[in-house]
Subunit: 193 residues, 2 copies
DNA sequence: CAGACAAACTTATCAGTGTCAAGATTGGTT
DNA sequence: AACCAATCTTGACACTGATAAGTTTGTCTG
């Protein structure tokens, strides 16, 4: 007699790849990468331990996919911020805040994202987006065309500050997290960029 | 008959704890934490796989020890820089350079150090040292006593910039690594701190 | 509609890992 | 000389990433 057909789950899951990425994102968000294992995720989803390897070459490739996903979310958060920006002079501050806030909401994403080797800043979409905006904004603020090298330096330096602040935000007791945006604003302003 | 005594290694290693930390530092420096395993280190040293657990509660405690060691080295690098600083007005730039340079020499230390959860900025020795120097330096530069909150903000912001720049330095193609110190100086100066 | 084929999944297995319990070895203390 | 605590080994356990071989299934072709 064949196994009961009553509500037995289908042999083919259907969209296991997306399900896996989703589960991975959630796991990292809650517990961090440290104890994430392919087998555990497979268990959670209710699929055999080798199933994911039909969709991802190996664990590293799976984590790459997750990294891409987070990067995408970050980029679109910045894009939304840019669209909603009313006071054009403050666009760089707004973007900085958006960056910090994104990771403040999901601290373990930050840890995960930058603990891996493979990030290449030149193709890192959030930075590319920021760079483009920054170039415009800086020249608009100064009222005249700026030397390319100057723009590049200022952009990198500002972004570095934002990135560093993000790292610190995730450490303990350094920022007044009740008014996170105010803090970030004041910190960035205190550098007189 | 007992086993040959000819040059057989002693049962007690002597200073296995230090040897383990040393081997761990070297391994991370060369290959990164990713594939570091207790067993592999034990093999390298020529000791059984359970031996380290007489000295470290678990792998995490071992990594804590290594983290402490690197942190100590970083702190003393900053202290040396401070002692050797001739032009007092440039002390903050010098410290920033020293920070970046430290990790530029050992990129994988950076990845390791900040990929772990446990860092508390308020007790993180390098930052404490930098903070103290920065407080003096800022007031000296401005020629009068500054509001505590202002000092704190500027310090955090400057340190964030340095930290962020370090992260970027370790990515590809963003800095002219031939003249690293010049680059860092110009970048920091471009913010008009 | 039948059969073939490729994609998606399971089962079984491998080497490697962290960790612990039990026992062996040793240097130092009484 | 006897003992003790620290140090190390041996042998095990559960868990991990990964692969090979076999099973199920949707889909495409004749």
């Amino acid at each position: 007699m064949s196994p009961k057909k009553t509500a037995s789950k289908p042999y083919h899951h259907g969209n296991l790849k997306e399900e896996f990425i989703k589960a991975g994102l959630e796991y990292i968000d809650r517990y961090g990468i440290e104890n994430l294992s392919m087998r555990r995720l497979a268990d959670l989803i209710g699929v055999s331990s080798a199933a994911p390897y039909a969709h991802f070459k190996n664990k590293d490739a799976f984590l790459d996919a997750i990294q891409d996903h987070i990067t995408l979310n970050l980029t679109s958060a910045l894009q939304v911020t840019e669209k909603n920006c009313q006071i054009r002079k403050k666009i760089l501050l707004d973007l900085g805040c958006a960056y910090v806030t994104f990771f403040y909401k999901n601290p373990l994403y930050f840890q995960f994202l930058f603990s891996r080797r493979s990030i290449d800043i030149n193709t890192f979409p959030p930075f590319r987006f920021y760079s483009d905006i920054a170039a415009e904004a800086l020249e608009q603020m100064h009222g005249h065309k700026l030397d390319n090298e100057v723009v590049r330096r200022k952009t990198i330096a500002m972004w570095a500050t934002v990135h560093g602040l993000t790292q610190f935000t995730l450490m303990e007791g350094i920022l007044n997290t009740d008014k996170l945006e105010d803090e970030i604003n004041e910190l960035l302003c205190s550098l007189d960029v």
